[in-house]
């Protein structure tokens, strides 16, 4: 999309004049086997229009029936977010026309959500921020359009569109926060940390694939600015399509800078939908809120109310994962991490990854080290979230196991990760194929040590005189000779043996 680029105000100047109010709407696609209101499968990536039936295609006469498992997941999400669970609630029709919505209304919940009035404590730079949850409600997803013609494959400028309804009717839970006030300069980080922690919670609940890159978690960012210190609420924009943790942070920062520029110039922000562009890192204007938003909600007459019994809610609360804060304390104790190490791990969005890596057999410090140094650097270089880098906790644990077995060292391990990202196979296969194994065979090492001693008689003399620290120089020579693949510990032992 083209258009004049937005004027932005420098970050410090934004904060000098304005207070941000933040709101997040996160859609979580559930991992139920079937859709929200029909028995069609929900598998990702099937042939177009092969997972449809009269209900999700909106054929005349078809009627919805609620998926019990989806309600159960909604209640569990609500409970995990410390929400109240409605004793009685209904589905409603949200009426608007759009070609990827088969009935031209979305079956959703309106003023009677299944869960409401909750909170989540979000950790940012070692501090806890309480994000209040307004509601979590059930709804259905839409189909997907392919835009044909035009230059970009985007909706604008396309000649026509091709619609696949496989996704139509997949259950979604929409989680809406109350306005988050007082976040100041931390607003971008709080937004990111909230979505990251929410994602981890969803993973722990096991209710969604939680893949932001596949759209199974989608965030909309609401943002407004008010003059600093007034505590007022300004006009907000709703930025859609923010589909990575990194983008959540960037989009908040961008909108704050853009709003400030508009307000500084004496103009008003008007309420609109904006679109986040991952590639260029900017938002662009979508449609203005207008009469199209007269959604004419009314209770879905083809469905009956959902009235979860307290016994059911009680039973489901027994299936919840551990409270996140207690869990953090427990993990820190188990792993022996310092406060700083723990904070960095959480801040990098790597808590779950480290946990899984440890579960797969790696030592806690080793797991932390790989994710927070090597993986974080690689993710940053390629501009993706660490979770979506393409290396799994199991693979990191496997690489570390090779290090522990002295098959490779840390330096060689980096080459193994190169191989993993290039899709060259398992760590073992990569070590074999690339010839990365450490040489610890005394014959080969001994010969290299002998050569090194012969070539550096002055260093050898120092060692003979008891200056063992000088061995490092000889080890370096041997390592160079053996292209890094020597077992440095064994080389040291051999040098000391030969020169004692």
């Amino acid at each position: 999309m083209t258009g004049k680029s937005d004027t932005l105000v420098a970050w410090d100047d934004v904060l000098a004049s304005y207070d941000p109010a933040l709101g997040l709407e996160v859609h979580v696609e559930l991992n139920t086997v079937t859709k929200m209101f029909c028995g069609c499968p929900t598998e990702f990536g099937a042939e177009p229009n092969s997972q449809v039936c009269p209900v999700c295609l909106g054929l005349p006469g078809a009627m919805p029936v609620v998926n019990r498992k989806a309600v159960e997941s909604a209640i569990r999400i609500g409970l995990a977010l410390n929400c109240e669970i409605a004793e009685w609630c209904r589905f409603a029709r949200k009426n608007y026309f759009y070609p990827d919505m088969p009935k031209n209304f979305q079956t959703s919940q309106y003023d009677e959500p299944i869960a409401f009035e909750g909170y989540m404590d979000v950790m940012v730079e070692g501090e806890i921020h309480r994000v209040e949850i307004e509601r979590a409600h059930m709804e259905e997803d839409t189909g997907k359009s392919l835009h044909v013609g035009g230059a970009t494959g985007r909706i604008h400028g396309a000649d026509y569109s091709l619609v696949d309804y496989n996704r139509a009717g997949i259950p979604l839970i929409e989680i809406v926060t109350k306005p988050i006030m007082g976040s100041r300069e931390k607003a971008p980080l709080i937004a990111k940390a909230y979505v990251a922690q929410l994602r981890e919670l969803i993973v722990a609940l096991g209710v969604s694939d939680a893949r932001m890159d596949q759209g199974s978690i989608r965030a909309d960012v609401n943002l407004s600015l008010a003059p600093v210190g007034t505590g007022a609420l300004g006009t907000r924009t709703e930025t859609k399509n923010v589909n990575s943790l990194r983008s959540v942070e960037r989009a908040v920062r961008y909108e704050m800078q853009r709003h400030a520029a508009v307000l500084d110039s004496g103009k008003a922000i008007f309420q609109e939908t904006r679109h986040w562009h991952e590639d260029t890192g900017v938002t662009t204007s979508g449609r203005e809120k207008s009469d199209a938003d007269d959604y004419r909600y009314f209770p879905e007459p083809d469905l009956v109310p959902v009235a979860p019994s307290r016994a059911w809610v009680e039973e489901l609360s027994g299936t919840l994962p551990e409270n996140p804060r207690e869990k953090l304390d427990r993990l820190q104790a188990d792993w022996g991490f310092s406060d700083l190490e723990m904070r960095d791990t959480v801040g990098a969005g790597a808590l779950g990854l480290v946990e899984e890596t440890i579960a797969a057999g790696a030592a806690p410090q080793a797991a932390r080290k790989w994710w927070l140094s090597e993986m974080a650097r690689r993710a940053n270089d390629s501009g993706v979230d660490i979770a979506e880098l393409g290396v799994s906790p199991a693979q990191v644990a496997a690489v570390q196991a090779l290090v522990d077995a002295k098959t490779i060292n840390d330096k060689l391990a980096r080459q193994v990760f190169d191989g993993l990202l290039a899709g060259e196979g398992t760590p073992e296969e990569i070590v074999a194929a690339r010839g990365l194994a450490v040489v610890s065979d005394d014959g080969a090492l001994g010969a290299a040590v002998d050569i090194a001693i012969a070539a550096n008689p002055d260093v050898a003399d120092k060692i003979r005189d008891g200056k063992h620290a000088a061995a490092g120089a000889l080890i370096g020579v041997v390592m160079k000779e053996m292209r890094g693949q020597a077992d440095a510990g064994r080389v040291r032992e051999l040098i000391l043996e030969k020169l004692s």
């Binding site: 079937t34 229009n49 019990r68 026309f97 835009h147 009956v304």
Partner: protein, 99 residues
């Protein structure tokens, strides 16, 4: 007394995606006003203490289990489509935004 103006009818027709022409608007507006007038009595009949009835039979918690039920083939799904391509429904260019 409730009345629907011609402009209001035009606005409602936009919401309902019906391309009413001038003659239809002229005809409909007064008819709708008459209908509205005849049903206006409703607004004062029931007090705040009367609960609404959304269904004649008060059922709750009607669920299905999360089990796959065979649906339609893509060919069946597309059988009524005015146009299709690449096993998808072909629709004219879409105004506005990506959902």
């Amino acid at each position: 007394m409730p009345e629907i103006t011609r402009d209001e009818v035009a606005h409602l027709a936009t919401l309902a995606r019906i391309d009413l022409d001038d003659a239809e608007l002229d005809h409909l507006a007064p008819q709708l006003s008459v209908i509205l007038e005849s049903i206006a009595s409703i607004s004062s009949v029931a007090g705040d203490d009367v609960p609404p009835t959304s269904h004649p039979m008060p059922l709750t918690n009607v669920f299905r289990e999360d089990v796959v039920v065979p649906g339609l083939t893509a060919a069946q799904a597309l059988s009524g489509a005015p146009a299709s391509e690449q096993q998808r429904f072909s629709v004219p260019r879409i105004l506005g935004d990506e959902q």
